[in-house]
Symmetry: C2
Subunit: 338 residues, 2 copies
């Protein structure tokens, strides 16, 4: 987690972290991590790890990639080395990393894309799902494999993908290929298409999502799990997530403001540091600004998820949803005039 | 402190921190910090603060500087604004920051320099010392002002500077204008010239120093206080300070090494993370690598100073000195072969 100590990741309420298969297989290498005892031992993270398949980053980061039935070949963005990643190798790499929750390899097309391209990638992803599932058969008990629904922004392809995956049978189901630039309404519509098909007793995971609002809306539509770089990436760019919505600490209105981001936050850094100080750190390009906003944002996201879980278990998610949206809409506190 | 949370600065054993007058007067501004309650409240640092005079950074960072009897004028390296810094304004700025230990403004010449230049700057610094002392007269009780010995690498000028400062009378005495590229032997020789002149009952502060070895040697010659960016700056460059000397984590020998930097360190991160992981973070340019090495290094420096203080108070500094140097000379543990 960029700019955060592992102890802060834990203290912020994090139970599970995601390891990036693409990055780790290129550097330091899956076999090296396995020799060092797996990703948890390597990083000293004392908790479960989910790993992605590597497929998404191959598409977004590497050059000269070529997708065939068998595998995707690409050049490493680090040293240009030619690498082949097949569904079987992806499972092998994830097992070398010591993954607790592995993902099938899929092909994710960028939207907008033509129906033919979307269908071809969805069908290939289904065949890769089958191969991933077979490759995972020898995994130790307790490890889980998730299938990934593809189908772009086309409802009938999304439904076909979900049905195909349920036929194969997975420990959980992810929805991939969204949060790639399409409007939120399209993303949520695709979730709505797929949700009734996915088994009620298996976790549903919306990959790469998203803003707090995206998350709240997706939970309202039956999603259980998310992953996103936004808390730390936006933190590095001077943005704080709070009960009052997103706050841009670069804004000059904060330069003389002695008030904290949120005096009622349960996370100390959101209470103990003034907006003026955070503004100064961000404007000066001090690493500490990114560090503080990253931990503040991760703590906010984890708190949001905790509150969502509690509201669901107490049967009052609907009122929680309304209250949370109302707070965001109310917006940040009025500017401070020194 | 770059790349460190304040809570880690404290946990690493830090009792006092240095605030940079030059940086802070330009951004966010001394009057702004004063309006926000001073530097301690601004940063949330719960302990004493020493501030430098700003003079050194004017010389090293700003453009178009012009030194006159009255003041130094320069252009801000941030926005090019023309700024004047006089001894009186330096004291005013340090008081606006809420400094507990302030420094007189001095002129620090870069070595090597000609005798004429060194003498002129030393004499100017003495006159500025006088003015700084007068400007400090209205400071609240408990605040301290240090004079700064100048005189380059010329023993007779160093002695004259020290005598002049003692005549004025300060709460403590700094030795400036060293650790600017001269050999360690020259630096220590200048300390030896000056030490007998400085009052025994006042702290002596060797500015901008240094490596652990510099510190040990300077303590052996009667110095009490130091400041240096080296623990964090070297940390950002992949270097760790340990009992075994300095270790370059970029070195490939660490790539497969599951051993921590020092299993006997009292600082958790020096025990809990493998060299392989630190190597990976440094090679990947991950902020966490800089963060971990910065805190490991600050903790090492603070531990060294604690051990020095304890050895002195127990009357066995000489044996501590020998043992510590022997450990450094022994060097790092043998490479690990996987």
């Amino acid at each position: 987690m960029k700019g955060m100590h592992w102890r802060e990741v834990r203290a912020a309420g994090t139970d599970i972290v995601l390891g990036n298969t693409y990055h780790l297989m290129l550097r330091p290498g899956a076999e090296r991590i396995a020799a060092l005892g797996g990703l948890q031992k390597f990083t000293n993270w004392d908790g479960p790890m989910l790993t992605d398949s590597g497929g998404f980053q191959v598409m977004s980061l590497s050059d000269l990639r070529k997708v065939s039935e068998k595998a995707v070949t690409f050049r490493s963005h680090i040293d240009g080395a030619k690498v082949e990643l097949s569904p079987e190798r992806s499972i092998e790499v994830q097992r070398l990393l010591g993954s607790d929750v592995a993902m099938q390899m899929d092909e994710c097309v960028r939207l907008p894309a033509g129906p033919g391209d979307i269908e071809r990638a969805m069908l290939l992803s289904l065949r890769w799902a089958e191969r991933s599932s077979r490759a995972f058969e020898s995994a130790p008990p307790g490890c889980m494999l998730f299938g990934i629904v593809q189908g772009g922004d086309m409802p009938q392809l999304r439904r076909a993908s979900a049905r195909g995956l349920v036929d194969i049978g997975f420990h959980g189901y992810a929805i991939g290929g969204l949060a790639v630039g399409e409007p939120q309404s399209v993303m949520l519509a695709m979730v709505e298409e797929v949700e009734p098909i996915l088994p009620q007793d298996r976790p549903r995971y919306l990959m790469g999502v998203g803003t707090p609002e995206d998350i709240l809306e997706a939970v309202a539509r039956g999603i259980d799990m998310f992953d996103c770089v936004m808390p730390t990436r936006n933190g590095r760019h001077g943005m704080a997530f709070t009960r009052f919505g997103q706050i841009n600490l670069r804004n000059a209105r904060h330069a003389d403001d002695p008030r904290p981001l949120d005096p009622e936050s349960l996370w100390p850094s959101a209470r103990d540091y003034s907006r003026a100080y955070l503004h100064h750190l961000v404007k000066s390009g001090e690493t500490l600004g990114a560090m503080l906003l990253s931990e503040i944002n991760v703590a906010y996201y984890q708190r949001l998820m905790q509150d969502i879980r509690q509201a669901i278990s107490e049967g009052n998610f609907a009122s929680f949803y309304e209250r949370t949206r109302a707070d965001w809409t109310k917006g940040d506190v009025a500017p401070h005039y020194a």
